[in-house]
Amino acid sequence: MSLFEVFVSSILDNNIALAMILGMCPLIAISTSTKNARGMGYAVVFVVTITGIINYPIFRLLEATGTRQLNLLVFIITIAATVQFLEMFLEKFLPSLHNAFGIFLPLITVNCAVLGVSLFFVSNEYNFAQTAVFSFGSGIGWLLAIVLLSGLRVKMEKKSDIPKGLAGKGIAFITLGILAIAFVGFTGLAS
């Protein structure tokens, strides 16, 4: 696959949130306001890209030493360490960016999308350049999904008359389902 195909497919037809169903907990919890959704989305793009790039050589190293089955443990530690390091680094050198990400950065360690990307590049057998592009594209795809969902939810909160039992999470899932159907339309765009 060419790099451009990997990029398009990771954003649209294999969207990490709507087709792979990853990172659902923050997607549902944070999409009640568009501003927060955007903050979380940017933080995910940032962290997913960096951890994807860091995890790739580590995985190759594990493979070379024949300890491939430890990859889960090593990936999650890498992710936790990277998030911790980024937080300290941003606080010191780029305080404005740190304020923009705010509380979202520490939450990302338990976002399944981040670990998911690291596991998918293993199962898809991507090379380094493809991994970097795939990680970045997946982050953008997640940002797209959460911003779309939060826009719809905010609008619905104000204008529509939702049944009492469906309000909140229930309607968020139905909306996500409809969004996911729309994204099914992109299938085969880059295959």
């Binding site: 990853l22 889960l72 976002n111 899932f173 099914v184």
Partner: protein, 209 residues
């Protein structure tokens, strides 16, 4: 013991909290990724439910055992190392004994690590309670998670393939709903399930907030 008295014991309350009153998926909305991604067939749901139950029970037991010697600042990382050790064990077990289910679940077995339920139970319950209660809490949360997965899996498998556990239940002329086998089907079924349960138990979101 008198069955009425049983209802006031701590054991009973812990179990009821996990299974229904604060069900991890339906009420707290945790651990959704695996609940939606693997539930298009009942056998996958059962495997995922058992795997998660095992990981929750074992990791909370270990967390509870060493809760007094974990330094406060590094507790998250400690939980993660404990959890991922058990997930690796589950992954290896599935690969060795049921390879076809292992292939169907794919990377989602590894993603049990970031399943917020496991982490949530370690942080909220196991780090404060003795092992005997922790065992029940882990078990009831795991079973509460499993029954929701199996319910979603049953609805999706009937509509998407016309079968339950590969046993044909729909008449032969039944047109399969392809949408139920892919991601959107999971969202719809879970959304509707939440609606039904909220109306049945009268626990609406606005009352909780």
């Amino acid at each position: 013991m008198n069955p009425r008295r049983l209802m006031y014991t701590k054991w009973f309350n812990i179990s009821r909290d996990g299974m229904s009153r604060s069900n991890p998926i339906l009420i707290a909305a945790l651990g959704l990724c695996s609940a939606l991604a693997v539930t298009n067939r009942v056998d996958n749901s059962i495997a995922m439910g058992l795997a998660v139950t095992f990981v929750i029970v074992m990791s909370s037991l270990i967390t509870s055992l060493i809760r007094n010697i974990i330094p406060q600042r590094v507790r998250m990382v400690t939980y993660m190392v404990i959890i991922s050790s058990f997930v690796i064990a589950v992954d290896a077990f599935l690969e060795a004994f049921v390879p076809n289910i292992h292939d169907a679940l794919g990377p989602y077995v590894g993603l049990i690590i970031t399943n917020c339920i496991v982490m949530g139970r370690s942080e909220a319950f196991a780090s404060k309670n003795p092992m005997r209660f922790t065992f029940f809490d882990g078990l009831s949360n795991g079973l509460g998670y499993s029954w929701v997965l199996i319910a979603i899996g049953a609805v999706r498998e009937i509509l998407a393939f016309g079968t339950i556990l590969d046993y044909r239940v729909m008449p032969t002329g039944f047109e399969n709903w392809v949408v139920m086998a892919i991601a959107p089907g999971g969202f719809f079924v879970l959304g509707l399930l939440i609606w039904v349960l909220r109306d049945m138990t009268k626990s609406y979101e606005e009352d909780l907030a």
